[in-house]
Symmetry: D2
């Protein structure tokens, strides 16, 4: 448990401080013989970059040119570790000098100092959002692997700044809209309104929280390793490891805690032909509803996997805040520079990446665990 | 990732099917020289047993006499694996024969069969609530270790059947009441009302969900291993591994996702002498509020750790339900026998046990990770 | 790394002090649906017990009745943890009281005390040879799994007390003799001579070392995970974890270090039909010789796996020895009681068990690691 | 067990094929606050490069300029992952084209192909000796950490091509000579003779094996985690993971297997003041001899750690060899290009690096495992 590796068989290690020389990852255990190109990586990295056409994410100049250092030969994975590196280009750290001595509210400044006795105060070091770059690069590799099973992972912003957006089955929900707006809201109208509200919050020097929902289709029944490495347990661990995540729920989640058994139970039914996964057989049941979010007893039941993650507001706000310094002296703090108002859009690919890492690991293990 | 071990240094393996010969655990990595008696184990096991004075939990005759098989010599831990075993006594499995061919809604029957190709249909085998016995026994050992640091873990039922009970700082909240009622609600009046409501639900042949909240005091700043083994990530994984858990939130949790940064940020302040942990030094800051739930950047900040877990209703209900059998044939199912109406009270010690396992592991690692 | 678990997917945890209530193991990750009976376990446990007809092993009354506590239902493995327990019956610890204060030469008394600050001085606690009981029980389960692939593991005593016994291809070598003599020497005449020599050594109050050789047939090419979890690396770690082991060599081993490349290289040749494994295809090569011991680049090459392990003499001897006590005071020590003169015969099933654990783990992983 | 990570707390992941873009490592879990410079890395990398003044190692132009990509800030470790990269410069792979279809004897060509279905045939890909670059870079970091405890690791070539060189306590043994000759033999005269013999072997188109001995001083008693992660078990696994390693022995090793208990047991004695480690206390015993190689019961006893590793001859020889191709057709093979005649000198820093990784991991864990 050194902290910077994730997964057991499909195992990822990430590295890099926000203002150090480079960020990246090493993906170990990826099966050999997969077609993998630098574009597969770059496409996902581009999704986590700030949009040009919006003010709600930082306009930091992150071109993020990824380089594959190992593990791929003539366009195919070798089964050896795939190292991917992105150089950090925008390393002006002068802005951060005044943050050396004071702890920013809502940030990890003090806890990192308490733990390590030293911290890279420039942009949060490894507690920066830039740390997610390694996750997304690794997730891109996992997605390539999962696609060979027709497993598709789609996340979107389901609420932000107190606004709740249309969800699956609701009026206005349109997943194809997700990539058309910087907040990744699956509804054009809702996105328009949300951008207005966030612009207003930004003008007030404030920031806003959000929830991101995720849906995975095509996974076979049988993923998850009871009793401690259940599918939901691993996903929960994966999602709560993302910066700013404060909660997760599967299927009906916290609403289930208020419901009755007769309302919550999904009934097994004969699986309709058109809904079968590549991996299903004719006699495998489906379910009449999916309140469980695709997981029973910690094991996938072949229904779509569904969960939502709560993210707190970006802690860097433009309002004066109370804090204290290393000696316990009270200090008023005014954080400068450009910061995201809401991480909604940028964290969507990170949620997908972490889901991909969990599922890639289980897809490799599943084949081993069967009889 | 074989699935039945938890933790890295303080490492627990549990075993046992609900109707097999025995349940138990092996605790490896517990420091040597701790005073540990069978009573430390039995006390916690008694808390997860059904209460005699209530009808809302199953009246199964579980005396649960634990035996320590190894790892303790002359009342002290040896640093070697501590194996604890409890024989299963009430093994009438005749009741379950009719469940051999049909999948109970909301249960893990089909997913276990899909995964393993075989299942112990008697009482759910290892997907039974009885599986938590090993967790609680191991958690009891972890608690003994944590108490040497003055770390205290207290969980309680914060809502059930749609009723929300008083929380910390609210009128009527009284933690000392928790152990006085079978639902473990920290308020005598609220417990009375909840029992009435659950009795009514039971009469209707139904069951109810609940949330359990947990508060840990006395933990030092610095626990948690970014970026993947953050304290909240590990706790989330631990809690979602408990049967019926559908969600978790830390601090203000899902409410944080609706809030503004100016509302959510906790301000660092000089730590008042009386609030300091055994491990704090004078200049370590405290925080003016605790909306983060005691964790920043995945690392404990020395404020109390606070989180809540959502549990779905018990899936075994006394109403007829629709299901299907192995051949996809529709079947109406009527589950018989006695079942819990709500797991609220019994799951409280399980939540505490899992928190104890996570924290024991980090307390051993923390000393290693420092400079 | 809590120390008492071995393997990643086929994962074993052992427990138990020599004079505590019980010894045993938990096998996690064993595939479901295997036929497993208590006889499969008992047969292997009987092999590690002292023979009735010999004086060279301790005549301790170990009946070692194993009990399967979980993981097996109606004679088949469930895919859940298989817990196996053996009660310790012969717990007279009075003999050991005088060893409380003095460190026995060649034993782990001082190192355990240095590490844990406490030790169970009765028979060495967990540094006793009895600790191998859990290994052998777990190995018995692994062997059942490996047999479904026609993988066979055979170990024998290849030298003892300075005598070298016939090996494969040499005059007198007869594996079927191995189980007919307490030293497990694969040659009747050599066994007779060795017993005489050991009897003489015993009369002198001394003890003797030995080497155990092991050969595994039927394993497919492709086992081993470079670069750190190579097949030989994992086997070396497994074997050196056995008490008294001081070395290991694969194939020509230390002799290879003295040889020339032209002598050591095995040449790939077309695989003769009769020598093919269940898993080989027609075009897979075999090798003209097997100086590599069946491993190239840390990966099995489908030739028989061959290695030898060196064991030091039993440290408990009947001669007076110099030592010191906790305060550094010199003390003459005379160890009493019955002790093995040579562990040759009893350690053979332990070597097989550890090999089985390594191979079971890789057989489960291999299927996952392929493309 | 993805294969390319080593260690649990001080955890290293290596990456890179011999003819891919780069080789390197990520060191996770290194304590924060250590002084670490690029020179600490470069110095060790230079030791594994071929010497300019000798013909017995390949004259490949490896300048191996290392770059630290993360984890170090203002000359100090941050406690975050330390990524180190070295670009591969000499990537002419034309030489290797004729090796695409035929399996080189003694190499891992066929086993990698059997495992992965694909291989990078240029210079062996990741089964090349260049893979050790990541190990040595990581080991350099571990050495910096270990030096803070005064732990020193010294390896040397103890035999080569059938010649046995002077060892500790023998005439002519002089560790300070080790770095003065390309074979790293601790005796000027013996080195001279060995170089002559190897030159002769080279002229014959052949290669030679060797043994490397290693001695570690300054380690405290108490390192090692019985029963499976014993100190010798972990070291054995580490050493056998090095390419060409065929055996290991601790202390008197295979000679112990031929000896009597009365000859092998080391007697505990009062520790002389001058021999005490930084970590020893006055009453901790020392031992009258060190036949155990510094380990008892898998735990360090504070005496110097001593072991030797056997390496087979370099499999690339200049003589014609018999082999076969993918279709099982016999082929005569003549390997061209320059190859090491003996890896003795170059593998010495690799042995040291692996020992450093094992010990760094245990030094971090030890502090956690105590009472």
């Amino acid at each position: 448990m050194a902290g910077n590796s994730f997964g057991e068989i499909f195992r990822v290690t990430t590295f890099g401080e926000s203002h150090g020389p480079a960020c990246g990852c090493v993906v170990d255990g990826c099966p050999a013989g997969l077609n993998l190109s630098i574009e597969d990586i770059s496409r996902e990295l581009a999704r986590r970059r700030p949009s040009a056409n919006t003010q709600i994410t930082t306009a930091r100049n992150e071109t993020d040119e990824a380089e594959i250092l190992s593990g791929v030969f003539e366009g195919k994975t070798l089964g050896t570790p795939i190292a991917i590196m992105v150089r950090n280009k925008d390393q002006k750290s002068g802005d951060y000098d005044k943050l050396k001595e004071v702890y920013r509210p809502g940030h990890a400044d003090w806890t990192w100092e308490a733990k390590y006795g030293i911290r890279d105060h420039r942009g949060g070091g490894r507690s920066s959002g830039r740390e997610t770059l390694g996750r997304v690069a690794a997730g891109a590799v996992a997605k390539v692997f999962l696609r060979t099973f027709n497993i598709e992972i789609k996340a979107w912003t389901s609420s932000a700044a107190g606004l709740v957006f249309p969800g699956p089955g609701e009026n206005g929900f349109d997943l194809s809209e997700t990539e058309n707006n910087p907040l990744r809201i699956p509804c054009r109208e809702a996105a328009h309104n949300a951008l207005s509200k966030l612009e207003e919050i930004k003008q007030n020097g404030d920031s806003a929280g959000c929830t991101v929902s995720c849906r995975v289709t095509g996974i076979p029944a049988g993923l998850g390793e009871p009793v401690f490495d259940k599918l939901d347990a691993r996903l929960a661990g994966a999602m709560l490891s993302i910066g700013s995540a404060k909660g997760i729920e599967f299927g009906s989640g916290f609403a289930a805690a208020k419901s009755l058994g007769s309302e919550q139970n999904d009934s097994p039914v004969k699986s309709p032909a058109q809904s079968r996964n590549k991996q299903n057989t004719e006699n495998d049941p489906a379910f009449s509803s999916n309140k469980s979010g695709g997981i029973l007893g910690g094991i996938s039941n072949s229904m779509p996997l569904e969960f939502a993650v709560a993210f707190k507001p970006v802690p860097s706000i433009a309002k004066p805040q109370q804090s204290c310094n290393k000696n316990g002296k009270a200090r008023e703090l005014l954080i400068q520079g450009r910061h995201d108002t809401c991480i909604a859009g940028r964290v969507v690919p990170v949620v997908e990446a972490m889901a991909a890492l969990v599922l890639a690991d289980f897809m490799l293990l599943k084949r081993g665990a069967g009889s």
